[in-house]
Symmetry: C2
């Protein structure tokens, strides 16, 4: 595995491989099994796998956890190399944003809800940095975790609208044994918070059972999940939504649609998200 910090060097390294299939796994580092599953998936179709590790300040709002976002580049390097990453791209903030950002990519509509509503400007930051990474790496395929389902929807919309020559491959959520979705932010949780955080998955599992039993009223599904989460005293709900996917439009009756149940719940300072997507 080659480790590269500059855009110019990355482009030079990739030049001889342009005729091969290049896969990009964009991450913010502090790797877990979720990230590694993206690399595994990339190995199936790509000859060269580039993983980027960049904690992107543009997608963090004031008061969010940009500064304290967990970082462990030495451990990340070991994990990435072991998983078969060919090039690890770890640019500095100065390398990615050498001057104040004047150009941004904005996806309207689907960014107004869920995390876009809770984190204003977040998805402009995501779309802009992903656009930059696509132009730097020029991958044939890019791999994203479905845990950030709205991010996947935003990026797929951007790629389609701007005719970006890359295939987006969404990959399933990877969970801990007790169902908690893998996230670099799980490390923030106290033991008690960590225990209670399993309610995200449990509440969606319960909703899934109700849906399988015939429940199709979005409001009732949402209420059921909120009730279940509120049983945990450390949980503070940011949002619980039942929407179409990938359009992220509100619906009353979920029958016959592709829908997402999406949650954001705070435990102390830690905001966790999770979701399930259903084809009904």
């Amino acid at each position: 595995m080659i480790k590269i910090g500059t855009i110019q060097e990355l482009r030079e390294q990739l030049r001889p491989y342009r005729h091969q299939k290049i896969g990009l796994v964009p991450t913010m580092g502090y790797l877990h099994e979720g990230h590694l599953s993206l690399v595994k998936k990339a190995r199936e179709t790509c000859d060269i796998i580039v993983m980027s590790i960049f904690v992107n300040p543009l997608q963090f709002g004031p008061g969010e956890d940009f500064e304290r976002y967990p970082r462990d580049i030495a451990r990340d390097e070991q994990l990435a190399e072991k998983e078969g990453v060919d090039i690890l791209f770890t640019p500095s903030v100065e390398e990615m944003y050498p001057s104040p950002v004047k150009t941004t990519v904005h996806v309207k509509g689907i960014t107004d809800t869920l995390c876009g509503a809770s984190r204003p400007g977040h998805f402009d930051g995501v779309a802009t940095v992903v656009s930059k990474l696509f132009h730097i790496v020029q991958p044939d395929y890019a791999f994203f975790g479905q845990k950030d389902a709205q991010q996947v929807a935003v990026i797929e919309q951007m790629v389609q609208d701007l005719n970006m020559p890359v295939d987006i491959i969404p990959c399933p959520i990877v969970r801990e044994a007790d169902g908690l979705a893998m996230s670099s932010r799980n490390v923030y949780l106290s033991p008690e918070e960590r225990e209670q955080a399993t309610v995200l998955y449990q509440s969606m599992q319960e909703a899934k059972r109700k849906i399988e039993q015939g429940e199709s009223d979005a409001f009732r599904i949402r209420s059921l999940i909120m009730q279940k989460i509120r049983e945990k005293k450390l949980a503070e709900i940011d949002y619980v939504e039942v929407l179409t996917y990938p359009g992220l439009e509100p619906i009353a009756d979920i029958g016959g649609k592709r829908i997402i149940i999406a949650l954001a719940v705070k435990f102390g300072q830690t905001r966790l998200i999770d979701n399930m997507i259903f084809n009904l």
Copy 2:
């Protein structure tokens, strides 16, 4: 010359030439010597020249001339072929915007002044369609006329900020014998308007002489130009500005700077722009 209307066919045609130098000349058609000078320039460095002809609705505001913008595709084809264009890309509006546009590229700061102030949203439309064309064609070089100097500045900023892998080549303004800058919109002018429209170039020439004689006060240069234009009874000034280039910042004293004199003047329904750039 091959004429292509769809994105997919264009990509397929270009695939075998990916290892060669591809040049893009984006236009809105109704070709004149200015456009053809871009093709001539492209011939110097590129193996394959793609010219796009697309009147982009996204960069026209309500009440602007999108509908009546001059079009003559048969004549354009002849001129493009004669000049050595290899692929003429003429997508329909439906091909470029198959669904309502959700994703836009915005360049802030330099779009607040000049045509950006007179035509709100114009440069979002320009940046977005140019971004799409870059992703569709994936050119090594793209050629733009310096008549649209602010457009060149916006696109150079976008390419830099988003790390787009393309070199922007600005090309000098091409003028009629009497100094009027070539523009597809010149065809709108009545004979009397056409005669008076020479004042744009004449006023800047006069300003140039004053600058060469030592005038360095931006306000006085601007006043001189406005006075000269106002002598023409059909001329209605939209803006006359003296700014830094490419930053487009206001300045008081132009000494030692790279500056632009930029004009937009209406003759009846026809809005003409022109500019001169000086390295002082």
